[in-house]
Every structure is written in C-alpha cells, then in structure tokens.
C-alpha cells in the first residue's frame, strides 16, 4: 500500500475531505519528527512507540577488500509495536 492508497483509505475511513487529510498528515509528520528530534518517545496507544536510539560508532571490515571503515555514531528512529498491535496481526 503506497502513500496515495493510504491517504485515500484514510479519507474514506474518516469521511474527511482530501484537503484536511493532506493538512493533517503534514502536521502529524512534522510534529512527530520534531518530537523525535528532541529525543522524545512518541507513544501511540494500541499501535506502538516511536523512539530514538543511539548507535555507537563501530569499525566494520569489508570482507572482500579487508578495508576497515569507521562507521560514525548515529541516532536512529526505532518503532516498537505495542502488544495490542502484535496480537492483532
């Protein structure tokens, strides 16, 4: 299901006009991003938690060349599905 299909099914389900859906989705995404940027966990009941995790820097070795590379530390978004979502799926 791609973005288009997803938006249209949101529209159908909530009986929203498409303008509102677009506006709301944009707002949701930017607020969610902003919250995650502050390293806050966003928990959506009956769906799951979005959280930011730190990944430490590490050294990897390219197996074919034997070249060693340093991967920098980074922050990644992790999604942890809630028990309700797990059981429904």
């Amino acid at each position: 299901m791609n973005n288009k299909e997803f938006l249209s099914s949101v529209m159908r389900k909530g009986q929203f006009p498409s303008r509102v859906v677009n506006q709301q989705v944009a707002a949701l995404v930017s607020e969610l991003t902003a919250a995650l940027e502050d390293e806050q966990t966003v928990s959506i009941s009956s769906f799951g938690n979005f959280e930011v995790k730190k990944r430490l820097e590490r050294v990897i070795v390219n197996p074919t060349t034997g070249q060693r590379m340093l991967v920098p530390p980074k922050l990644v978004v992790a999604f942890k599905p809630s028990q309700i979502l797990k059981s429904k799926i």
Partner: protein, 313 residues
C-alpha cells in the same frame, strides 16, 4: 530530554499548528494509525510519505535454549512489524551527528590490526620489495672476495666495471704466458690461480646478471625518474611520453612505484585496490605491464605498479 509524548499530546500540538479543533485532530490521529494497521493486515506493507515504511515480516520457527533452565525450546513462527524511517525523518533525527561520515581508516592505524587479520606475508611484501633488494645484492659480493686476494676492489661493480676487470686480467694472464718459458712453477701457479679467479668472477657476474634481470626495473627506473624530476622538473605529460598510457584515462602514468609479486588467489583487481586504492584503476596496471589477458596471470608474476599523476583538464 528523555520523555514520553502521548497520542493526545501529539494531537494537541498538531491542532495548534493547523487550527483544527483538538477533538477532530485526535480523531484523525486515531484513524491515521488504525488505517496503517489495516493496511498492514491487507498488504503487509504501508508506505507513508515523510514518515516511513511499515512492513510485516514473517519469522519462521526456530529452536533456542531457555537461558535459565538450559532446556531447548521452540520459538513459534510469527509475523513482526518493522518500521523503516523515511530518508527525511532519518536525516532530521540524525542531524546532531550528520557531519560524521563513514571513513576508511588510515593505513597507519590499521596496519597492526591488518597484519593480525590478514596473512602477515602479503602486506609487507610490496613495500619492502623495491628497497631491500638493491641492498641485499651487495651482500653476496664480499663472500667470494676473501678467497682471491689480488683484485677485491673491482668486484663490487656493475657490468661496465666487470668488463674493465676482465680487460685488466687478460693482459696479466697473457704476460706470464710469454715469460713462462724458463720460469718457475710459481708463475704457473699464479696463472692458474688467476684463471680460477677470472672464471669465478665470470661465473659470479653471470649469476648476478640473472638475478639483476628480474629486479632490474625496480633498480634502474626509479633513480631515472627522480633524476629527471630534480634536473628539469618535467611536466607529467612529458614524463608520460616514456610510458604507455591509458587512452581517455584521468591519470598520466609517469613512472613506477614498485613491483608486486602475484600471490596465489590474487587478481589484478585486488592489486589495483591495494596498491592504487581503487579497483577501477586496474586498466592502468594492464596497460603499464602490457598484459594481454588480465584474467590469467600466473602466481609469482612480477607486476609493476605505475606511478600516476592526475591529468589537468
């Protein structure tokens, strides 16, 4: 800053941004995520622009061990939800660390470890090859010297001096022969000794030449390039005329760095990656060594590594 934001707080923030009532927004958020769940169950994949991709992945049964009891247990297959953030979300979140990039570790730091990881034989060889060989060559020379007393001086010499030595010896040999009619055994002995010396010298240089033929490129070419650089500082283009070039390539071949001996299991690609830092530059090695079939190169073959200068365009 580690704190939790609930669905309601998120909706409140959104409402502030859009100006739509809180209630409607909360409703929307609920429906938004519910739709994702339904989409997952329907298609096993939901893409939301700006957010990311949710995916269902089947996990098959597997065996494991209960950490506490040590019993073997069976973990039933199940489906799990994965989330891959969109590039925009990922970069936004990673912004504090965005200036870092994956870097190849420098040789100086990696060498100790590399030697531990790889076979220790491979790494030192290409580097040590050009230098130690000229040094080791003079060493065998002193060995034959102590035996023949008369001419130890001329021996540590290149082919030119060898000729001189031969010339010098020839008259010496001839002279005793003329005088030898009434002379003592001593002179005959001297002649024989000299002959032995000459024979030994010839044999010695014969073997040395054989050895030099192999290493000659490494010994001869390098000083030539350096001298030219010191004398006239020729442009890379002028230097490049002395060597075969890769047509349309980004680099001039202006000399030779060292000679690499092919190991079992090595290919030109690997050498190019190791010596030139990029396997795309293999073509330069092929051209420089005039290799007809780059796929078949016997182990032990001497591969010359070109010195390259980037073309100015």
């Amino acid at each position: 800053m580690e704190q939790k934001i609930s669905q309601l707080e998120l909706a409140a923030k959104m409402a502030k941004r859009t100006g739509i009532t809180k209630q409607d927004t909360e409703n929307f958020v609920r429906i938004f995520f519910e739709t994702i769940r339904e989409g997952l169950m329907q298609d096993k994949l939901v893409k939301v622009k700006g957010l990311g991709t949710f995916k269902l992945i089947e996990v098959s049964d597997r065996e494991s061990v209960d950490v506490n009891t040590g019993e073997r247990i069976r973990i039933e297959g199940h489906t799990k939800v994965t989330f891959t953030p969109d590039a925009s979300l990922r970069d936004q979140v990673n912004r504090p660390f965005s200036e870092f990039e994956t870097t190849v570790l420098a040789d100086t730091t990696s060498q100790e470890e590399m030697e531990r990881i790889e076979t220790p034989v491979q790494k030192p060889e290409p580097k040590s090859e050009p230098k130690p060989e000229p040094k080791t060559e003079p060493k065998p020379e002193p060995k034959p010297e102590p035996k023949p007393d008369p001419k130890p001086v001329q021996k540590p010499a290149q082919p030119e001096k060898e000729k001189k030595a031969a010339e010098q010896k020839a008259p010496v040999v001839a002279a005793p022969v003329q005088q030898s009619e009434g002379s003592s055994w001593l002179k005959w002995l001297l002649v024989i000794v000299l002959l032995c010396v000459v024979g030994g010298v010839c044999y010695y240089f014969g073997t040395q030449r054989g050895a030099m033929e192999v290493t000659e490129p490494a010994v001869d070419d390098e000083p030539v390039v350096e001298e030219e650089v010191i004398v006239a500082e020729p442009t890379p283009e002028e230097l490049a005329k002395n060597y075969p070039q890769v047509e349309g390539g980004d680099y001039w071949i202006v000399g030779e760095v060292c000679v690499h001996e092919m190991q079992v299991g090595e290919g030109l690609l690997k050498i190019a990656r190791k010596e030139l830092g990029n396997s795309d530059l293999m073509e330069y090695i092929v051209v420089f060594n005039n290799i007809e079939n780059p796929d078949i190169i016997p182990p032990g073959a001497q591969i010359r590594i070109p010195r390259m200068v980037r073309k100015n365009k």
